[in-house]
Every structure is written in C-alpha cells, then in structure tokens.
Amino acid sequence: MALKKVKGNFERMFDKNLTDLVRGIRNNKDNEAKYISQCIEEIKQELRQDNISVKCNAVAKLTYIQMLGYDISWAGFNIIEVMSSSRFTCKRIGYLAASQCFHPDSELLMLTTNMIRKDLNSQNQYDAGVALSGLSCFISPDLSRDLANDIMTLMSSTKPYLRMKAVLMMYKVFLRYPEALKPAFPKLKEKLEDPDPGVQSAAVNVICELARKNPKNYLPLAPIFFKLMTTSTNNWMLIKIIKLFGALTPLEPRLGKKLIEPLTNLIHSTSAMSLLYECINTVIAVLISISSGMPNHSASIQLCVQKLRILIEDSDQNLKYLGLLAMSKILKTHPKSVQAHKDLILACLDDKDESIRLRALDLLYGMVSKKNLMEIVKRLLGHMERAEGSGYRDELLYKVIEICGQSSYLYVTNFEWYLTVLVELIQLEAGSRHGRLIAEQLLDVAIRVPVVRQFAVNEMTNLLDTFTVSAQSNSMYEVLYAAAWIVGEFAAELEDAEKTLNILLRPRQLPGHIQGVYVQNVIKLFARLATTCLELQDLPGIVRLCDHLLEKLQHFNGSSDIEVQERANSACMLIEMLRTQLAQNTDNSSGSIPPLAIEIVQEMALLFAGELIPVAPKAQRKVPLPDGLDLDEWINAPPPDDASSSSSSEHDKDELFVSSLSTTGNKGGNDGTNSGRRRPSLELTPEQLERQRQARLIEQSNNPHYLKSTPTIGGGGGSSSNADQYDNIDDIPITELPLELEGVSALRVGITKRSDKYLQEQQAATAASHQGKDGKKKHKKTKKSKKAKNKVAYNSSSESEGEMKPMHIVNTTLDMPEGVSLSDSEDKDGKYDPNDPHRALDIELEITDFETISRSSGKKSKENLKAPTGTENLATTASTTAALPSSSSSKKEKKKDKEKSREHKSRKATTATAATQQIVGDLIDAGTPIASPSKNALTSISVSSNNNTTISDAAAVQPAAHHKKKKKNKDKSSTSIIDVDNDAAVASAPAATTKSHKKKHKRDKTEHKEKVSGYEEPLGISTPSKEIF
C-alpha cells in the first residue's frame, strides 16, 4: 500500500509529461475544465522547483493548455527561465511558449533583452534560429531598438539558415522600430543577390512587404527585380516579384511598358497556375496604369481574358474563383472585353459554390443591359428564394439593388417593374439588414420618376396594409418609413385616400421614428381629403373625418416616444381648431362650410404644397464661405500664458461691468453697490475710463465676431465695406445649380402586378418597341442647359408623354455644388489606420549607385552638420556593439536627432532642390558608418570562403535535382528515392534511433486506436504538391 503511494506520488510529481497531460484531458472529457485546473495547480508546484527539466516539462504542458484557451501569462517569468537554459531542448520549449503567449506589450520582455542577445550570438546556429523564430512573434519596440544591430550582424552570418531568418526578422524590427530601416536597407538590398536562394527569396519577401505599403520608395529597385524576374526559376520568388511589380506599375508607367513583354512570355510558357495567375494580375495592373498610349495593349487584354476564361472553365473550383476575381479587375477598365464572356459569368451564378457565386455577382453589374436586366434580376430573385444563409441572401438583395440602381437607373426601362421587384424583395427577405437601402430606393424612385408615382402610392398602400412586423424583421420595417412618406407626399395620386388614412391610423407596434412619419403623413392625407370635401361642399364629411382622426390620434398621443407625442399633439390641436370652427356652423345653419374653416383647410393644404427635390449629401458645399469669415481665426482670443497678461485680461473683464455703469453716468449707482470688495478699476479717473472705453469700441468695431447694437447699414445694404461683416443670411451668395436632365425612358407601361409579367411583356414587345426606342434616343440627347430648372424638366417630360407612349423619366437632378461628384469620397483619409506601422516606414531610401556617393563626397563635411535621423546613432552602436554603458548619453543624442529629422523633413517640403541635396547628404551619412561592419563581413566571408566553395557547389547541383523532382513529383515513389539519397548521406547515424522511436510511437498509436478510430485515419495526402515547390 505504502509503496504504491510513494510510486503514485512519484509519478504525479515527475512523470506527468505532455503526453500524460493530453491523455488525461482526453480521459476526462466530461469535466475537462476541472481536470485542467487541477493540472495547472500541479504545474504551479513544478514551476516552484529548482530543477530546470521539471520547469521545462511544466512549460511544455502550459503551451498545450494555452492552445485550449487558458491564460498562461502568469507563468511568464518561468518561461523566461526556461528560455535562458543552456540546453537547446529547453530553450526551444521556452521560446515556443513565449511565442505563443508573450505580446509586444508584455513588461516581462524587458528582462529578456540580454538573454536573447546572447542566444542570437550563440555558436550553435539553431540556438540563434530558435531565438529568431520566437522573437518574430513577440518583438517589442524596445527589443527592436536594442537588438536591431545584433540582427543586422546576423544578416551577414556565414550560415545561410541564419541569414535567411535574420532577413525576415528585420521586417519585424522595421515595423516596431522604423528608424532601423534606413541603416539596414543597404544590407537588405545586398541580400537580393545573395548566393543562397533561400536568403534571396527572404529578402524579396521583406522588400515586397515593405513596398506594398509605400511603393514609391522602392521604385529605384525595379531594375534589380527585373533582372531577378528574368533569370530566376524559383516560382515562389517569381510570384512575389511579380506581385511587387503590380504594386509599382501604377507609379511608373514606363516600367509597365517594359514589363508587358516578359510577363506575356511567362504567361505563355509557365505551367504553374499560380505563377500564371499572378502574371495575369500584374498585366492587368499594368494595363490599368497605362490605359492609353499602348499600341498593342488590346492584344494583351485579349490574352488575359482568354487565359482567365480557361481558368474559369476549369473544373478546379479554386481556379474558377481566382479567374472571376481577376475578371472583376479587368471589368473596371475594359468592360467590353469582359462582356464578351457574359455567358460564362452568368453560368457561374448557378454554381454550387457560394464563394464562386459571390464573385460572379461582383461581375454582374458590368454584364447588365437594358435588354437583359429583367431576366437577370428574375434569376437573382429565384436564387434568393432557394438560397440558404442570410448572409448570401442579403448579398443577393444588395446586388439586385446595385445593378438596377447603377448610374441613375440607366438600365431600368420600366419602373413599375422595379417597384414590384422592390416590394417582392421586401416580402422575400423579412430578416434582411438592408431595409434602409430598400427604403431609400423606394423614396428615390418615387421622387425622381414622377410618372410612376400613381403606381407607387397604390403599391405602398398595399405594403402598409400587408406588411407584418415580426421580431425577425428588425431592419426591414424601415420600408414602412418610406411607404408612409410616399403615400402622404403624393396623396393626390391615391385612388382611395381614406382607406390609406385608415391603414396609417391603425394602432401598431412600430419604432418611434416610423410612427412619427406616420403621424406627419396622416396630416398630409387629411389635408388632401379635407380639400376634396371642400370642393364637394361636404360638411358632414369633414366633420366625420375630424372626429375620426381625433379619436384615432389618441393612440399616438400616448406614445412613449417624445417625437411621436409631439407630432400627434400638434396634429390634434390643428384638427381641433378646425373642428371648433366647423362646430359653429353645424348647429345653426344649413350645410355650408364656414369661411374660417375653409381658410384653415386651405392653409393646411398649402403647408404640404410644392415639390421636394432630392438633395445631394454634399449639398452643403454649395454654400460658399462668406467674405470676411475666417474659420481659422479665434472667436475669443486664447488666454495668454504669462501671468502679467492674464492679470490684465482679468482687468479687462472687470472693466466691462464698470464701463457699462460709467456710461449711464451714474456714479451714485456705483456707490450704491455696497459690496465689500471694491474693484481696482473703480479708482480710475473719468479720463482714463473714457480712454479705455474708446479703445474698446475701436476694438469692437474691428472685431467681426462682435455683435454690434448700433445700426450701421443705410438703405439697401449701402455701406458695402461693413456689409461683409454683418453676416446676414440673405447676403450669403448662392450659386446657381447646374441642372441636368437625362431622360431614361421606358418602353411600355404594363399594368400587371408581378414582376415576371413585365419581363414577358417586354419580350413580347421587343418587336413593337423600335418606334419607342427611336423616340427615346432623341429624348436622351436633349440635355438641358446648365441653368435649367426642375420645373422645366417636368414640363418637357409631360410634353414628350404627349408624343409617345407613357415613359418613365428619371429625374437625375440633385442639389449639387459645382465641381463635386457624388462618387467623391470624402473619407478617403479616414481609411488610413493611424496605428498602421507602415506609415512610419514611409521613409525615403537612397537607392543609388556608389558612384554618386563618391562624386558628392566633397559636400560631405557640410552636410554632416545637418546629420539627419538616427542613422548615425544606430550605425555607431553597430560598430561597437559593446558600447552599452553610454546608453543614457546616446538617448539624449537620439532626441536631438529626432528634432533634427523633423526639421529636416520640413525643409524637404519647402524646396525640392534642397531636398535632393539633403538626400545626397543622407546617402553619405548612411553609407559611411555602415562601411565598418560590412568590412568585417567581408573579411569573415573571405575566411570562410574555403568552406563556402563546397556549399556553392552543392547549391549549383541542387537546382538540377530540383528540376528533376518537379517533374517526378506526380509519382510519389520516384521522388522518395531522391529524398532517401539525400537523407541517407546526412542522417545515416541517427537512423537506427529514429526507427526505434517510431516503433514506440506506433505502439502508442495502436493503444489509442481502440478508443477512437477516427483519429487514426491517415490524412491521405496522396495529391502531390501542385507545382511551386
């Protein structure tokens, strides 16, 4: 018994390794949380022990637990302990744990600086490698600053493995510590021509990442990349380079022209789909950037579209997806060439894969025409009925509206059809979040297409009647807002206004802002109905209407929404006023409506008369800034800083009151205020007071923000010198609007209800419509002159109505300021993420040849005085890595340097010539200090050159083998022969041990097999790696 206990104790304390933990968790599926918390307790105990192996084991377990979602940051200190172990095994576990749970804000990272530096400089390349891998996940700004030089030294290590990792690591350093970019860049550039392809690829990778965000700084590197592109066979690197060119071409069209040829060659020659695809992408980018001036660019476009068609037709869904993605890029600039493949894209709408359908939807807006719009929309509606998942349905809904509404309903020929579609969408998709969008469309169409209003009001009445508000339709009820507004505003078009009124008055559970609109439009309807009653001299009708309304509005009166309450109350008051007037007459005389009541009704009708015009969102810009209004000027002068002036301003304040008293000329009043504290200003002599008063008056008259009581304007705004100071609202000049009318017409008006019928009708009427088309064309041409008013536009539309079949005209007039287009995005800058580290990396890099440096070296001494940025600082520490103790002084230097760099930047902005000089100066500064470490590197390379010869030989052989492998990759067995050959030479010794290990491993597997068979299923990676590697 006792022995067992010892043994158990023993195991619990020492032998619960990661495997035991995993097994334990799997055995305690029911109470996993409890088991894990128990394990964490054990781990805490283990961490308290001195033995590093035990700690290491504990940390390994913690890493696993972290993956399951447990916070392990409390063990941070222990993780650092394990990281600092001299043994690789422990170190690796420690760094792994750190990379999983540390983050750049960890305070613990302060402790790690020296340890990581030691590891980076370790003799064992894997120690340094592990440290770099870990560091890449949690590097902080402080660590970047302190370790930048060590990592830079590693970039010229003799071991390609370390060089490669160090190069990648530098990118992370740049992100956290942008000052490192400038001094490190020459070295990074050097690595583009590194003998090791891995290092080369890493350098390309880093520069691509850098250039993606700030491409203009990397344009001078284009020749190097161009050379790499034409010589390299490494597909992975080629893809990166080609992607980089895609980012560079918009900045330099000449580059694009040069690229077209090699890229088209690659497109023709490569068998790797990934490379082909990226080539097409970049060619598209080139073609976009040089949209004109290329004689044979239509051939390139044709080639791209052709290849993309092959991709889209491929049975591989991935290629199909990417093909559509690239198509959408072409569509923006060359819509015609894409439209040729309409059939293919429309076919993709029916694909079983949602991602592909979405991509096809993106392309759809370029595919529609007046002829096929109805058909396409019908298909989309059909999809919506069938589709599962609200996200996709929402997307469909959005697309339907997008393609119909694009360029002011250019392709919509029949707006009754469109309204029917919108109503159908509402009925189809009660749970959509696009309710507001549909509401906007309804309003827009009703306002801008006058002819369709009659149809619209009736549709909206039906909608108001039938729409059921459910809990699910949390956004769709927005359409009621639009519907209510439309029936109210265009009440004249209603067939049965009273019925609509009753529908609106029906008590319903609706959000406040919609109820508010309801009440408002009830009054509009009432005004309409009352006017008709007036015309008919129907006194009892009005009385009945008033009573009915007063009764029903009570419901709104009690609303909890303040807006609804207010509106309902004022509506009630208005109607009651009318009712009392009516009541006077109903008692005594016969039938005639009292004149006062008539007046009230007419006034009410007047309230809602007049047309509402759509207002552009940026109409505010139309109002020019009045002369003399300076928005940057202080309204009140800011309080002065120094004590003396502040006291004087206080003095002024006191004076305000005193002077106002003094102007009354009543000294006794002053004495009468028997306050104990007498102000110092009271002791001023009358002359002084008078002088101050004069000065103040002058100041006031000069101050445009001061409201003056004295009437200065003569007749007819005569004193023009002062007029601009008196910002009368009427004085604000309002520029006339450029109004344009583009008639987009319909072919025929159908009277049928559902949207499909419009389609059938359209198809039937295609032959007959030629006549209409001619008319439409004519109409389209009649663009109104800039000063044309809306009313004119309406008149012209009614004229044309007389001539031709009823036509739907979109009124594209918007209240828009000159020079502003709707597509202007005002928040372009808002897209910038202020936290994006790449903004700090927007540093001009001097990428020039060494000749220029030597030529301009004469200027060096002069330029050195202005020594910009932290270059020097960093570089000096680079040359003497051990110069740590002087850190405090160097910090001061840094501050100075920062100031200098700021200064330097502003100077750059002012004069371009000075800027170029400065850059040359920078070059010298950046170039010289780096020279010392690179010299070291040179010597070290020459020392190790003997070793390197063998390596380079191997490297030369490798590509050949590589090629072979690529070919044979499809046949797995044959490739494995090569692998075995390679491995046998290297790892013959540990082979035996690995085998035994594997045996044990297999036993492990079979043990678990009995429990869960699913896990045992091999992953079955029979498909060979496709092409790249």
Binding site: L3, V6, G69, Y70, Y126, V206, D983, L1019, F1029
Partner: protein, 191 residues
C-alpha cells in the same frame, strides 16, 4: 503576410494554433470557433478560399484552407500572398508532417503538438514564408532532433534522474511513511 495558422478537426477541436499577431486567449478561441463554423459548412468539392471572418482581418484577409480526412488546415493571409501559393504551402506542411510522423494522423498532432510547432517554425517565421523546399525543411528538422537527442542521451537523463532523487527528499519521505524495508522500495522504483 500570414496572420494565423489554425489546425482543427472535424468537430472544431483545436490541434494547432499559431497567431502571428497578438490576440488574447479568449479571442483566439473565438477566432478558432468562427473559422471552424465558416469552414466546416463547406462541401469538399468547393473552392478553398473564403473571405475572412469578422474577427480576424476583414476584407483584405482571406482564409485559405485544405481539408485532410479529419483535419482542417487553415491559413489566414492578406492580399500580399498568392492564393495558390499558400495552398501549395499547406500541402508542403502536411507532407512534411507526414514524413516526420510516418503516415501522419490526427493522433500525432494531438500528442506531439510541440513537435508540430517546431516543424511549422521551419516553414513560416513571424508570418512570413521561410522555406518551401521540403528537403531543406527536413534537413533542418532532423539536425535539430539530433541535437535534442544528443542532449537527452548524454547529460539530460542522468541529470534529470539525479535531480529527481534530490528534490524528492527521500529520507524525509521515508521518515514520513515509515517504510519497513527501504532498500527494497528503492529497487522497485527502477528509475
């Protein structure tokens, strides 16, 4: 840049999670959950690209995944990576696992999560692709394994045993439990 690499099984249990941008643990779990929900409802014969989830990335990010038997391998990448390239990288990753574990299956990933991490760190470093050549990757991994074995063989095991005995404080333990036959007990332990 690769933002995250996730491996989970058909039930959404995480088998490997590597984030190259810091998220706290609960958010990590949410991301895994969300990703699983996005990926798992897709058929096997649809394309391998997905628009990023709401938690991770946004519009610039894509989820690129492959489904092998019981496991999903998901890479979350931004637009600087080639989609097809990442698909191949996943293939290389899995093939490397297959070589290291000999016919890899989910159990290998469950019980050797740390080893999988070490393998992954030879492919991807800090969100950037480090090495794509499988032979090179294998050579690195084997060299490191050799290093670990050396350490374990020469110094670690005895040191560990000794320290275990030391820290166990056997005399005290024995006193506590009052064993009659101390030497026999130690013999039975066999460590």
């Amino acid at each position: 840049m690769i933002k995250a690499i996730l491996v989970f099984n058909n039930h959404g249990k995480p088998r490997l999670s590597k984030f190259y941008q810091y998220f706290d643990e609960s958010l990590q779990q949410q991301i895994i959950k969300e990703t699983f929900q996005l990926v798992s409802k897709r058929d096997d014969n649809v394309c391998n690209f997905l628009e990023g989830g709401s938690l991770i990335g946004g519009s610039d990010y894509k989820l690129i995944y492959r489904h092998y038997a019981t496991l999903y391998f998901v890479f979350c990448v931004d637009s600087s990576e080639s989609e097809l390239g990442i698909l191949d990288l996943i293939q290389v990753f899995v093939e490397t696992l297959d070589k290291c574990f000999e016919n890899v299956c989910e159990l290998d990933l469950i019980f050797h999560a740390d080893a999988v991490h070490h393998i992954l760190s030879e492919l991807v470093m800090g969100g950037m692709v480090l090495q794509t050549n499988m032979n090179d990757i294998m050579a690195r991994i084997e060299e490191q394994n050799k290093l670990v074995k050396q350490e374990a063989g020469i110094s670690a095991a005895p040191a560990r045993a000794v320290s275990a005995v030391k820290s166990m404080n056997i005399p005290q333990q024995i006193k506590d439990i009052k064993l009659p036959d101390l030497p026999q007990a130690i013999k039975d332990l066999k460590f």
